[in-house]
Symmetry: C2
Subunit: 194 residues, 2 copies
Amino acid sequence: MAKSSTPSRERIVAGAADMISRRGLSATSIREMAKHAKAPLGSTYHYFPEGKQQLATEAVRYSGEWVARSLRKELEAGPAAGLAAFLALWRRIVFESDFHAGCPVLAVAIEEPPADEVPPALAAAADVFEQWENLLADSLRAHGARAEQAAQVATLIVAAVEGTVALCRAKRSTEPLDRTAAQLQYLIAATIKN
Amino acid sequence: MAKSSTPSRERIVAGAADMISRRGLSATSIREMAKHAKAPLGSTYHYFPEGKQQLATEAVRYSGEWVARSLRKELEAGPAAGLAAFLALWRRIVFESDFHAGCPVLAVAIEEPPADEVPPALAAAADVFEQWENLLADSLRAHGARAEQAAQVATLIVAAVEGTVALCRAKRSTEPLDRTAAQLQYLIAATIKN
DNA sequence: GCTAGACTATGACGATCGTTATAGCCAGAG
DNA sequence: CTCTGGCTATAACGATCGTCATAGTCTAGC
């Protein structure tokens, strides 16, 4: 078998991202990630010789890129459409997992690093947030927003959506997403108008 | 010794809240919480016979009430002052911990619950978020905001601040807080004006 | 067909987890 | 003084953790 329908390595990364988004990094064991991807434990150390940190780093980048792709595509129709897609994407993840899944990037971002050291997974999380913000900010600027305003609004959107997903999980309801959605839509409309 | 300067029980809860805000719930062991509070391991099971879940629940409520107190007090000077205090409080926690600490309520909120069951700590997190939102929404309404708008803005503020704290930790910078602060201030000004 | 190298199978290592049990201490009430 | 009850001390339980080592299987290219 040269290549199975989805290669083992990618299945492991995608599965790891899903599990991390639910339980957090430290509560997700390598054994469970392997089992979830129907891969043997030995394979995880074959594909990711640096161990858990490497796997976490790749999982963060994987979901980061996945979201960025969607964002990039929908932003072609303008910032408001991009925001709507961004919100819909997270609503779907939260709702379809029965409020069990969230954002793996956030989950990794709030793990405490060892003193005076920055683990690669945490650095990857920072990069992913930055990328999402830049996509939104560029689109806002392209539609007439002032540079500083665009940056501020982009950061607010990313932060608010991440926080709202957490609120939804705690309350087992998508209502927080509805509320922030309404306000963020006003905000975008006001931002690209001046 | 009838009562030490700070009672053991409260020291354990406060310490647990701090540790959970840094490492997350599942990465924080009861042994470490006891050691951090200079209390014996046996004492934690004496004060919290339901074990880790109970300790986590009380830690969430403890920090929830602590933030709510500050919020309640500063909101007396109006929504804008309340928001400023809310932001300053989190900025202080993030900065003074060298970007290691965050919000323990968020940390508990994103832990996956067992299927069809809601652990008390998760329910407590939902309550705390609700309480913060209500404090902000009431203040907004008292200053002329429409009821629905007030609720939406309050949810957005709580979610955005929680998310921004996570962004700051990942990026090891307080700049995200500056950006969201600016936008949330505009938003409050616009909300209580109509 | 054979060999090299990618992948898997299996088991073990020390460490730490949540939790419990049991015995001991030690202040304050009687 | 004795005794009771809140708190501590200590050790242990099985389970699971991240990681590593070793031997085995299988396939692609010669």
